[in-house]
Point group: C2
Chain length 452, copies 2
């Protein structure tokens, strides 16, 4: 056992106390009644940084403050940014908690409390790892910038402004975010990518009011039927997105990624069971994981128009609409995709209906190559800490903050999660394993060593 | 002026009093509190028949009674059935009436009250015409069977049973229904046809619950998108219905009908204005009136699925559905069409969704040739009464009763309406013109003469 590991082992109790104390603060960013608690949590986090030997300050925003901590040493060649968030989801429904959500308790090896896994336990591991370096060796081998925000659960409204304003002082060689999950309890994983997203709403208007389908049916366009034609035109028979130009910026899956994919212990039957759908289905020529991790989509999230009650109502409805989100992959850009989408919809709808496309913005996809030095260093750190090589995974979802770190600061962002899928984040009795908390601290400590 | 016309002229006041008295009875079939009033109205109508010299009886049903009156004379060669209904729509909203709905008043030449046009003023004209024959000539030149029901506004639930049970005693050479409108105040019209209808609901089910479109999107079928594909498959590019076999029973428009159509003073610009739609639109190769009167349709009355609230919700919805009604033309049959529809939908939906088609029945289309003797006689009667040849019209709507008279009794049904489109039926301040009431009596009197 090396000096870093021994220090963490010796401070087992102290580190758990640090976590418990942090979990006691109800920093619910969505709750106006918790505004002062949320500010208190920011001050508390700054205090942890200072106790560990880092400079920390509270950055006020029009919303909840950001905690920023910096470490630099004249001999260090590299700088890394660590992002986390100290705010938590509301704890409702309260009556489903076995103990109050802000009175953390131990359930075997798990600590149970709101925010345990999302994200207090995870970002705290990085702070304690920095402290471990300083306590054992008097120095961290890389420069660090910590940004721990207080508005992640309420859409990070003020973070982008700060990143833009402070960009020159936030130059770094990469970023690490620990706000996701491992593949399984014994399978560490590094997240190399997220899909982006672009959202839009389509509205078709026909007659000025619902018309009687006897007196008018057949002689005026039916907006619900025309909407169906527009939506059907979004995919071809192979369920490829049929919006012209949609794939122009899409990178094909590199051969080495296909090799890595084959190593992921993905159980397709289990996945199908988890959906309850009659069958899996998607773009021809790709496997399920490829479809989720590497291929863009165009999903109809909702449709509405005309009569939706019991029985029959013989109308030609006045209007119909659909909500659409597209998941994007490198190098698709939400704005370009939304322009293509709008042009296609307007071209497809007939002149007998008025068509409106409301573009609702989006987030960029992000991706790291497995060859990226940050990934290689993190893989080494995880292998040392867990005694097992991590697998490389991606996510079909979108974390806007990660896209912003890339877009505004140009940073490659590694997703190094220590949570588990069953940590009940956003649900009652959220938990985080103390075993993975300690391994997280150790991984972070090794990561800075590997990166130096 | 002949004897029939003079009798009607002499009894002007008496006939209006008869109408006013009938309108005073609040025979609202939908209102359980009006059950006794509705029964009283049936007895009152039977009384009018008897005063005019016809035998009448009340036929009890599990709902509201039917009033049946019969006239026969040994020398008459033909028998005709007259259908009407003495029940009325609820008068709500009451505060929009200028005077109480069951206290009829005169507004110039119009009588205003609930039921004035729909249908009390119209069926009463036929009873008074029968009375006019008996009073002036001691005999009606054709045998008559009157069926005046009390459940038309609540879907005529018990009429079909009666027709089926009494079919042998209801044999006739044709039927007349006066429950529709003229083309315009000075343009009498004979209705030669109605479209039929077939109704169905489509339900598609995919995943067992709404899935996150990041974690699952692209790997499972989206029921809303697949529904759109199914709905889009219902029409081809020319907006012809694309359900295989759908047109197999459809009669093409005969050349003589095209000729008659060209005589209808239809103003397409006015029609478009009345819809408020950006443009007219429909099956390629047909005019607007042809599309409404002679061509079948497949309309989406409503669609629903997934998220329909504000903003964005990134889901693959668990299910989606649509409500469909098809308007039918001769010789389409609702049951056959629904079978074809179901087979097409099930063939079109992919195996990755469960599909359910709920068939909701329908009504048959009806049509008379302009050469039909009933039509020719009615045209002659209208020309004599109005001093103007009627135009031949059709309706894109469906009146189930008419289809039942054809289906159960095999009767050709002529729609001879004396109402106007702006009579505000089903709305406050329903009206009926006394001028057209008198012309209606005269037309009916001449009709029996022409048919003899």
């Amino acid at each position: 056992m090396d000096d870093l590991a021994s220090h963490i082992e010796r401070n087992r109790e102290a580190f758990v106390s640090e976590l418990m104390e942090l979990l006691r603060i109800p920093s619910v960013s969505a709750d106006p009644d918790r505004k002062e608690d949320t500010a208190r949590c920011a001050r508390h986090v700054a205090g942890i940084f200072r106790r560990m030997g880092l400079e920390a300050r509270i950055v006020e925003t029009p919303g909840h403050p950001i905690v920023r901590a910096d470490y630099s040493h004249p001999e260090n060649k590299r700088t890394y940014l660590v992002y986390g968030h100290y705010d938590v989801q509301p704890p409702d429904p309260l009556d489903k908690w076995l103990e109050p959500p802000f009175e953390p308790w131990l359930d075997g090896e798990d600590v149970v409390a709101r925010g345990a896994s999302d994200d207090k336990g995870q970002f705290l591991a990085h702070i304690l790892a920095a402290g471990t370096h300083l306590a054992t060796r008097g120095r961290i081998p890389v420069n660090l910038i910590f940004l721990i925000e207080g508005e992640e659960e309420v859409s990070s409204d003020h973070l982008a402004d700060y990143l833009e304003k402070e960009a020159p002082g936030l130059r770094a060689d990469g970023a690490v975010v620990s706000d996701t999950s491992m593949w399984g309890p014994d399978t560490p994983a590094l997240g190399l990518g997220l899909r982006g997203i672009a959202a839009a709403e389509i509205r078709l208007r026909g007659p000025a009011r619902d018309l009687h389908s006897g007196g008018f049916g057949g002689a005026v366009a039916n907006p619900a039927a025309e909407l169906a034609r527009v939506l059907a035109s979004l995919h071809d028979e192979d369920r490829r997105v049929a919006v012209p130009g949609f794939y122009d910026q899409v990178r094909e899956i590199p051969r080495e990624e296909k090799e890595l994919l084959s190593q992921v212990p993905f159980d397709e039957g289990e996945f199908l069971d988890s959906t309850g759908a009659p069958a899996l289905w998607g773009e021809r020529g790709y496997s399920t994981l490829e479809r989720i991790w590497f291929r863009p989509t165009c999903e109809v999230n909702g449709i509405a128009g005309g009569y939706r009650g019991e029985g029959t109502k013989t109308i030609v409805p006045t209007c119909a609409g659909a909500k659409i989100t597209m998941r994007l992959v490198p190098d698709q850009d939400p704005e370009t995709v939304l322009e293509l989408f709008e042009a296609h919809v307007k071209r497809t709808a007939p002149p007998s209906v008025e068509v409106e496309v409301i573009k609702q913005g989006g987030a960029r996809p992000v991706s790291l190559s497995p060859d990226n030095p940050l990934v290689q260093a993190a893989a080494g750190a995880e292998e040392r800490a867990f005694g097992k090589k991590p697998i490389f995974i991606r996510s079909g979802g979108s974390i806007p903050v990660v896209g912003e770190l890339k877009r505004i600061l140009g940073l490659d962002v590694l997703l190094m999660g220590f949570g588990l899928e069953d940590d009940r984040i956003h649900s009652p009795n959220e938990k985080f394993s103390l075993e993975r908390f300690r391994k997280g601290i150790l991984t972070s400590a090794y990561l800075w060593e590997e990166l130096a």
